[in-house]
Amino acid sequence: MVEAFPGALVGPSSKERKYDRQLRLWAASGQQALEEARVLLVNSDGPWGKQSTGVSGVVGVETLKNLVLPGIGGFTIVDPAVVTEPDLGVNFFLEEDSLGKSRAQETCRLLRELNPDVDGNFESKPVAELLQDPEFLPQFKLVLVSGPVNRAMLSELRSAAKALGIPVLYTRSVGFYSTFSLQLPAAFPIVETHPDPESTQDLRLLNPWPELAASLTSISNLETMDDHQHGHVPYILLLLHYLEKWKETHDGNVPSNYKEKTAFRDLVRSGARTDNPEGGEENYDEAVAAVLKSLNPFTLRSSIREIFEMDECTKLTSTSANFWLIASAIREFYNKHSVLPLPGSLPDMKAQSADYISLQNIYKTKARKDTAEVIENVRRLEALHSPRPAKIADKDIETFCKNAAHIKVIHGRDLPQLDGEVHTLKAIRNALSDPESLISVFLGYDVLDSIITDIQTDKQSEDALDSTLAWEAGVDRVMRSLTSEASAAVDEGTRQRIIQATQELRRTQGGELHNVSALTGGLVAQEALKVMTRQYVPLDNTCVFDGIRSRSEMYRL
């Protein structure tokens, strides 16, 4: 297709046009990360007894839909189930002709239609068989599991993924409830967390570097400027100017507490000219508004300090990830200068074009200089810890420097289990103290998981799914776990809330509702995108959604 385009300029490619609305969120770098990622979906693990095919796997397919559309590299669906009549009433990616065929094959075929750029394939074998092949799991960047599945299989898959550092999302959607947990590696770093731009301003007004301080000479005649000039002095320079004045009368100190800042603000305000038609000056208004927000000495956020102190950062090896090498280089920078590299961005402000641009250049130049120093540190560290697979790109170091104050490392945890880690039980007990908490739904799912495990290991028949006895026994087991320590008091209200949750789960006998699975598939895909692009901040680590009251909660279990 040839399109007329003015001038010698090249318009966006058709791929850029197709992905335009998402590139505005995660840019080309995020898109590239997506395109390099292959996702494994384990969408069922065999039937539940003789009647039921087991998990409908709608939530898994809906999640994949939301990943195929934005263009992940590829996916593999593992699902030993055969398409049955109830599948067609709940799964959009199946059709009449699919009846009796492999569900993995059919859902794969219809999902592929969504995006010709995505490679998709399928396996109709149980995942346990596939895991026998050591080459199977390492090809994926992310594993999605649709539950409830029997505990042994989940355990095996979870450990195998953990050993390879592959994140796992385990999702269950039944009736009006859903829950999912994200298992991340022990240290999962993110550079581009996309914080609110308001919170990221770093102007260094209290400790200006020489070039910024020198720019004050351009307004040494502030008092004698004509109204037009006076009304267009960038507020950054105004603040620097009045800080100098303040210091003259305060033993060289800058305003440090609220009271002093308020007094300083009045000093700035008193400099505004009011004998003009507008009765004031916008640049002064901006300066006054910025006093409390912008006049803070640089402090290293505790989360960044923690990252600097982690073993990964202090004990580099030749196999350390790029993130840790750059973090370590920035730590050196910080140790030397007591500040992080300057991000270099300047907010828009009332000013003449040329004055603004020259001020902007002062910030940009300083940021480039800081980055250059960090690059130097990185190169030295690379040499020290060679051989390394590849030289870290300057561009990546630059991005890191821009975001240095907002990087994040998530300390990943295993998929939570009631009888797993101590911290899980503790966090659940804490959450239970709030009667409105959705943690009772999570516990309801634990009961369901154990029933499914019993059915799949022939300890109970499939009738257990609708047996009061089975569900009550499950609730009793959960209650016993919760009260396993004598000190822990779990009241009758808690028990009632868990019973209610199990009643709602039992209502569909483990079946999915399309709406709730579609919604959950959206939530899970969102987390998957954040994990694969390594942008924004993913869930840590469990979310419960209640479709009855349309609300959700997050827990660190």
């Binding site: 010709p116 579609a518 969102q526 349309s550």
Partner: protein
């Protein structure tokens, strides 16, 4: 065609429609009647875009059998990253038709009737046929229109006239779903201040002291085009037009040493593009259709009345009850019925308003949708509408028509429906 075993096919859905849950209303009677109520509920979807595609799929798989969809747009390449019912070959075709046909093909037994056009093309008779209306729109104006239309239709003598409006909206990783029971709960107009206004840059900055690449683009779009291509109507979908703006903005950037003008940014500024992804749409669309299912069947309580979602940092939702504003210009002053003599003059009618129990309107101005009946100020308009005072009501308005009355003595306005005696 092979007969479908409905009970088997809809097994999971029927489970929640034939069995009570712990939170279902105690008066609710689950069973076949609930199922047939659901299947006979005609439902309207406004918008067949990012949310609309999802909504249609979800409703079809929630047991709704008679779905209508309105959308005036055609499919663009930039829709394909999320509007999953559309393919490359569909580019240029009407969204409503392609979406309806796709879902009908995929989900057997559902009937989806598309209408390609504006919601404003349709009148109250049209909206009256639906039980529930689900909105997936990106325009505030269209939302306000359907909201005020549905509020106006609600008549307590006719239970069928109450049309629950379920509205969804997204922006990037964020979105919201809300349930509006016209005249009963907080409406879109009550919640208008929750829509942040689009930040604007002073025109003089754009004209004389640009500092940002966006200022250069705005200049090209709002000033240069007007000066240099006055006779071409600007079309933001015309690549030649966008290209011209882009080049003009680049030039201006060069002149002022401003860097960073890109084609992508030009499009974003000129078309006011809001980032959009499949996953956020999936969340919000399913939140709205889940409410539609609950409202249509009573199988569980519905949302009262607002859920917001933000996905940038973990999974964050906040569910709350937005308040109804007593002075809401749409639902705060519902039309009251008044019987009048069509032979009465407007002047005499105005006098009677001074004796109304709810408000003694001494200096009212009033109009119908089409006509300014009498406007007391400014003087020029008073002069132009003064002759109406001597006319008979029957010559000015139609039987059953609504008038809106403002009076400086009251901060709220009044609406009356005038029935001729």
């Amino acid at each position: 065609m092979v007969a479908i075993d409905q009970t088997l096919r809809w097994k999971h859905l029927y489970n929640v429609l034939t069995r009570s849950g712990p939170f279902s209303d105690e008066d609710w009677v689950p069973g076949p009647e609930t199922i047939s109520t659901l299947e006979s509920s005609k439902i309207l979807v406004i918008g067949a875009g990012g949310l609309g595609c999802e909504i249609l799929k979800n409703l079809a798989l929630s047991g709704f059998k008679d779905i209508h969809v309105i959308d005036m747009d055609t499919i663009d390449i930039s829709n394909l990253n999320r509007q999953f019912l559309f393919r490359q070959v569909d580019i240029g075709k009407p969204k409503a038709e392609v979406a309806a046909a796709f879902v009908e093909r995929r989900v057997k037994g559902v009937k989806i009737t598309p209408y390609v056009g504006k919601i404003q093309d349709k009148d109250e008779d049209y909206y009256m046929q639906f039980k529930i209306i689900v909105c997936g729109l990106d325009s505030i104006e269209a939302r306000r229109w359907i909201n005020s239309t549905l509020v106006g239709m609600a008549d307590f003598e006719n239970p069928e006239s109450l049309k629950p409006l379920i509205d969804g909206g997204t922006e990037g990783f964020k979105g919201q779903a809300r349930v509006i029971l016209p005249t009963l709960s907080s409406c879109i107009e009550c919640q208008l201040d929750m829509h942040a206004p689009r930040p604007a840059v002073p025109l003089c900055t754009i004209a004389t002291i640009p500092r940002q690449p966006q200022h250069c683009i705005e200049w090209a779009h709002q000033i240069a085009w007007q000066e240099q291509r006055k006779d071409d109507a600007f079309d933001s979908d015309d690549l030649e037009h966008i290209g011209w703006i882009y080049n003009a903005a680049l030039e201006r950037g060069k002149q002022f040493h401003i860097s960073g003008v890109t084609f992508q940014m030009t499009q974003g500024v000129v078309k006011n593009i809001i980032p959009a992804i499949a996953s956020t749409n999936a969340v919000i669309a399913a939140a709205t259709t889940s409410e539609a299912l609950k409202i249509a069947t009573s199988c569980n309580p519905y949302l009262e009345n607002y859920m917001m979602y933000a996905g940038e940092e973990g999974v964050y939702t906040y569910t709350f009850e937005a308040e109804k504003k007593p002075d809401c210009p749409v639902c705060g002053n519902l039309a009251r019925r008044m019987t009048v003599d069509p032979n009465m003059t407007l002047e005499a009618f105005i006098e009677t308003l001074g004796e109304r129990p709810e408000a003694q309107l001494k200096k009212p101005s009033m109009r119908t949708e089409e006509k300014t009946l009498y406007q007391r100020f400014p003087p020029q308009l008073e002069e132009q509408t003064r002759p109406n005072l001597k006319l008979k009501l029957g010559d000015l308005i139609a039987d059953g028509q609504e008038i809106a009355v403002s009076d400086p003595a009251y901060t709220i306005d009044f609406r009356y429906r005038l029935d001729f005696s």
